[in-house]
Structures are given as C-alpha cells and as structure tokens.
C-alpha cells in the first residue's frame, strides 16, 4: 500500500485546478488528517496497550514475577494452551474440507452453507456458551446421560474446549474459501488427470497455493482461541486450578482487587497478541510478495 503513496501524491496536495498541474502543495491537509487519525489510534489503541504493561509493573518486577509463576496462573495458562491446541487443528481440518467442497465443486445451497459457516461470528460470546450449557448442562439434553457415565462437560475442561471451538469455528474456512475460489480448479484438475490421487492433489497442489492464507487464518483462530472470554466464562464455572483459563484468571484477580497481579497476567496475553500481530503482518507481506 505504501507503493501507492508516491504514485498519487498530487491528488491530496494540490491547491487549485488553475495551477495547471504544477501542484502547489498545501501540506496542512495531509498533516491534519494524519494527526487526527494518529490521535484517534493513540487514544483507543496505544494508551490502553501501554496501560496494561505499566499497571503490570506498577508494584515492581518481584510482584509481577510472583503473579505469573503462581500455580493458579500456570494452570490457567496450561488450560488456555490446551484449549487452543485442540480447537485450532480441528477448525483447520474443517476449514480445508469446507473450502475444498465449496471452491472446487458446484452444488445447490452453496451460499447457504457459506452463511451458516459464518454464523458463529454473529452470535454473542455469551450465547455461544449458553447453547452448550443447554445441550450438556445438568438440565440439558445430554446432561443426565453424561452424569450417568460420571462425565461432566459443563463446568469442566471439555465444555471450555467446545466453546473455544465454536467461537473460532469460521476463521480458517473464511480465509480459505474466497482464496481457493479465486484460484479456480484448473491446477487441481491438471493434477487429477495426470494421475494424482485426491490426497496428493490436496497436499502437493492446493495446500502450497493457499499456505499463506491458511497460516493467516490459523494465526487469527489461535489468537481468538487463547483470548476468548465470554463463551468460556459461561461454561467454565471458574474453578481455580481446574477450569480457569488465563483470561478468566485475569477477571478473578481483578475482581479481588489484585490489580497488579491481574495486569501481570493480562500482560502475558497482551504480549501474545503483539506476537500475533507481528507474525500476521509478516505473513501478509509474504503473501503480497508471492
């Protein structure tokens, strides 16, 4: 996008059409617009981000370190990583399958299917948790049956994993479907008629073509999986050391007025978010360069 900037500099800088193309620059328009945009971003993005790290270290590095290595925080981090480690690969496989079916074949109801895949994005996180309570909770459809087998889904780890899968459901599919539709199916057809099996075609032709889009989807999926709060909050039960993810642990500490500890754990998540953004922009540059 920076490539476009030198191409059209006069469009925003010229003073009057009567100067006949000899653009008399009015630099205050770009400067004013840039300042306004940066002020808005600073107010809403940079200041809160900086606040996380400042508040985390407000009581010194020792308090920070203690909050981070506390057993409850460590087990919360482990559960967060576990939920992401299950949800992301499952949604990755689903995304590839859905994109293969939608982009490479024609069938009735295709646009309905695409809309249904997007559905979890338009459902409030709280409702995402609620629906699993209705299915697996003790008063739900499967709750009594599961209780008979001495299995618990709600207020337990499986519920957290399910809720995480739901909220991150569309990420990979949503990246891959338009990309694979734009690429068409000629290369796959060529591979197929040259004797490649379906799996060979997928592995050697399709996936190399979409690898950047795939990675992009996985990164976004992973970020949401590790950061989800509302849905997980409903199904978790907030049992410390057992069903607390890191975002829920932050909430508990905050509500107990342990602000330094809450922000210490929040800074871990903010750090993960910054890494996500760094990888994401690296992937974007690779994808546009390729």
């Amino acid at each position: 996008m920076s490539a476009l900037a030198p191409a059209v500099p006069h469009l925003t800088g010229h003073a009057s059409p009567r100067t006949h193309g000899v653009a008399r620059r009015v630099p205050w328009v770009p400067i004013a617009l840039t300042s306004a945009a940066l002020a808005f971003l600073a107010l809403f993005l940079l200041v809160p981000l900086a606040a996380v790290f400042v508040e985390a270290f407000r009581k010194g590095a020792a308090v920070y370190w203690k909050a981070v290595i506390e057993p409850d925080a460590v087990s919360a981090l482990q559960l967060t990583l576990l939920a992401a480690a299950i949800a992301v690969p499952l949604n990755l496989v689903f995304g590839v399958a859905a994109a293969w079916a939608i982009a490479k074949f024609d069938f009735r109801g295709k646009s309905l299917l695409i809309t249904l895949i997007d559905l979890p994005f338009s459902v409030s996180p709280v409702i995402s948790g609620l629906i699993y309570v209705l299915v697996f909770g003790l008063q739900g459809w499967l709750g009594p049956t599961l209780a008979g087998f001495d299995t618990q889904v709600i207020f337990a780890v499986p519920g957290i994993v399910l809720a995480t899968i739901f909220v991150t459901f569309p990420f990979v599919a949503r990246e891959l479907i338009p990309l694979m539709q734009a690429q068409g199916r000629e290369e796959e057809e060529a591979a197929a008629v040259l004797g490649a099996s379906g799996w060979q075609t997928l592995w050697h032709v399709t996936l190399p073509n979409v690898k950047w889009g795939l990675l992009y989807g996985v990164i976004l999926c992973n970020a949401r999986a590790m950061g989800e709060f509302g849905a997980v909050s409903v199904v978790s039960g907030h049992i410390r050391g057992l069903t607390n993810t890191l975002p829920l642990h932050v909430e508990i500490l905050y509500n107990e007025y342990q602000f330094a500890a809450a922000f210490a754990c929040a800074s871990l998540l903010a750090f993960l978010a910054l890494i996500t953004l760094a990888i994401k922009s690296a992937v974007e540059q690779h994808a546009t360069a390729a």
Partner: protein, 354 residues
C-alpha cells in the same frame, strides 16, 4: 482414495474423454478463454505432457504460466461440467457433519428450549423493563460506536493508504490489536485508563466528564473492539482505486474536496457501510471488554449479554434463553443484511470496474 491415482475420474461430459486423450486442465482453460470452447480440440497435441510429470514434481514449471485472469474468465464454463476432482462427498460430508455438531445442533437447542415456555412467560421475560432498558442501551451504544468507527475508520484507512509517515507499518499492524487482544484484557486496560484516577479519566473527570462506570465507558469499549472493521474493509478498496479517475476529475477542474466527495466517497461507500454493519454486529454481542468498564447498573449501564449471565447465575435457564433468542434473531437479521450489503458492494464495484 489413494487407489484413484491410476484411474483419474473423467466424467463423460468432458469433450476429450472419448478420444482417449487426457484433457489438460490449464490448457483447456487457456484454450477456452482464448478461442471459445469449440476450438479446444486443437489442444490435443498438448496431451504428451500428461505422461507423468506429476510424480517428478515437474508440473509446476509446465503450468506455471497460467494466471488468475484466465481462470476467472473460464469459471462459468468450467462450472457447467461436473468436476473431475475427487473427494467431494468426503469434504462436504465432513463439513456438514462438523457444522451440525458444533454449530447447528447447539444453536437449535436455544430455540427448542424457548418452546418450553408459554408465550406469556416468554413475552414477560423479554419485555421486562430492565431487559428493555438493556436492549436500548446495547443498541444505542453499539450504533454510536459503529458510527464513530465509520468516520474514523475511513480516516485511518485513507491516511494509511495515501500518506507516508514514520512508523506507518507498525501503526498499520496495530490496527488489528482489538482482534488479537483478549477482550478481558481490553476491558481492564480501558477501565484503568478511563477511571477517575486514570491517565485519561482524571483530566476528563476534572472537566466534568465521567467515562468509566457510565454508558460513555461502554461506548469507549465498543469503539475499541469495532475499530478494525471499517479500516480493514475500506483499505483494499482505496488501494484499488484507479488513479485515472482522480486525475480526470482534477483535470476537469474539480477541487480536492469535490474529487473526494463526488469520485472517491461513492466508490468506498459500500465498504464503509459493510464495515459499519460488521462493527455494529460485533458490538451488539460484546461482553468481555464491556463488563469491566460499564459499572453494570440495572436500567442505566447494564448490557443485554450481561443480563443473560445474570439469569444463568440464578439458574433461570429458560429466562436466559428467551433473551438469547431475541438477540440471536436480531443478529441473524444483521447477518442477512451484511450478506446483502456485500453482494451490493461486489456488484457496484463490478459495474464501476467495467
């Protein structure tokens, strides 16, 4: 499926299948786009590339020249034929199975659960004054936050596409922070900043404006989480904008403002509206970033998702579900609107590109 390696499925509809010559996908595509389907028979001579370059990995070099333009030109022709590719039933079957298991069946549980309520009880639940107040608050703040994001999102996208300034790449990457940062972290960070002893909250409260623990705080949180939507939908449209249009406007005597208002703005408007709707939809259901800063006073600063949580904590599952169904219906209507808008935007861009 590996057993199909020896016998590629060639549906009888393909023009080449009878001659015993392997049809070559990219050549077919190029032939069709260049000469029309009736002349593709001349491409039989290309069949010798089909000996088995795939096994050696040599196909990429052979077919590397075919680009996106030729494939879009042939899409409508290729779609008339059944695909030669395998795996349709497996892929679609798994997609529908997984979609049903994770999304459709649990979502239907919400609707089925409300049927256990009588209409009177359902209506009394969803039209209780405290609930109606939360609809109004959620709707108003979400709408206003999406409006702020539409204006400033367009501004940020414009600045990122058109101007150069130090640190631009970092700023561009940071725009996605609300997508990457967990909502709970955003919530406590915004509360710390806008509380009466916070960096921005203190000067604001001295000026008589209280942000945290008021509806204004909800607006701040919803503006934060909706920030990337408009920027990211408008940015690619601005990048694709043809410089010739603006140059033509300029040479015809338009002022920069006229060029913006009459040439650029109508082109980016569909993207702005799409981004606005996405931000609005996201804000309607938002929970994590809001509850910390809202203060959560019934009738004043209590959002609808929080009411669902409150009912759940009182084990009022039916009541929680009734409110959830109202929200679900609202968001499905919005989803429908978003799809219609994107269709409109695509058509509009397609028409203007032609």
């Amino acid at each position: 499926m590996a057993s199909q390696a020896d016998t590629p499925q060639i549906p009888p509809g393909l023009p080449f299948a009878k001659g015993g010559v392997l049809p070559c996908g990219p050549c077919l595509a190029l032939g069709v786009s260049a000469d029309g389907p009736e002349k593709t028979t001349s491409l039989r001579s290309h069949a010798d590339v089909g000996t088995s370059p795939f096994a050696k990995g040599g196909w990429r070099g052979i077919f590397g020249g075919h680009n996106a333009k030729t494939s879009t030109a042939t899409v409508h022709i290729a779609q008339r034929n059944p695909s030669v590719l395998p795996g349709f039933h497996l892929a679609l079957g798994f997609t529908i199975f997984y979609l049903s298991l994770i999304v459709l069946i649990p979502l239907s549980a919400a609707f089925i659960k409300t049927f256990t309520l009588t209409w009177e009880v359902f209506w009394a639940t969803v039209s209780a004054p405290r609930v109606v107040a939360s609809y109004g608050l959620t709707f108003r703040t979400a709408l206003l936050a999406a409006g702020i994001n539409a204006v400033f999102g367009l501004l940020v996208a414009w600045v990122l596409v058109r101007y150069k300034f130090p640190g631009k790449k970092i700023i561009d990457a940071l725009v996605d922070l609300p997508f990457a940062l967990p909502t709970a972290v955003a919530g406590i960070a915004l509360t710390a900043v806008y509380a009466t002893n916070g960096w921005l909250g203190q000067p604001l409260s001295e000026a008589g404006i209280k942000v945290a623990f008021t509806p204004l705080g909800i607006l701040v949180a919803l503006t934060f989480i909706g920030l990337p939507f408009v920027v990211r939908t408008v940015q690619p449209v601005l990048e694709d904008l043809e410089a010739e249009l603006e140059e033509a406007a300029h040479s015809l005597g338009a002022t920069p403002w006229q060029t913006f208002a009459q040439v650029i703005f109508p082109t980016v408007l569909p993207a702005v509206v799409t981004g606005f709707t996405l931000a609005f939809a996201r804000a309607l259901g938002e929970y994590g970033s809001v509850i910390f800063i809202a203060g959560n006073m019934p009738m004043v600063s209590e959002i609808t998702p929080l009411l669902i949580i409150t009912k759940l904590e009182q084990y009022d599952y039916a009541g929680a579900t009734a409110i959830a169904v109202v929200m679900l219906v609202a968001s499905f209507l919005l989803l429908f609107a978003i799809n219609a808008l994107q269709w409109w935007a695509r058509r509009r861009r397609g028409l203007e590109g032609a």
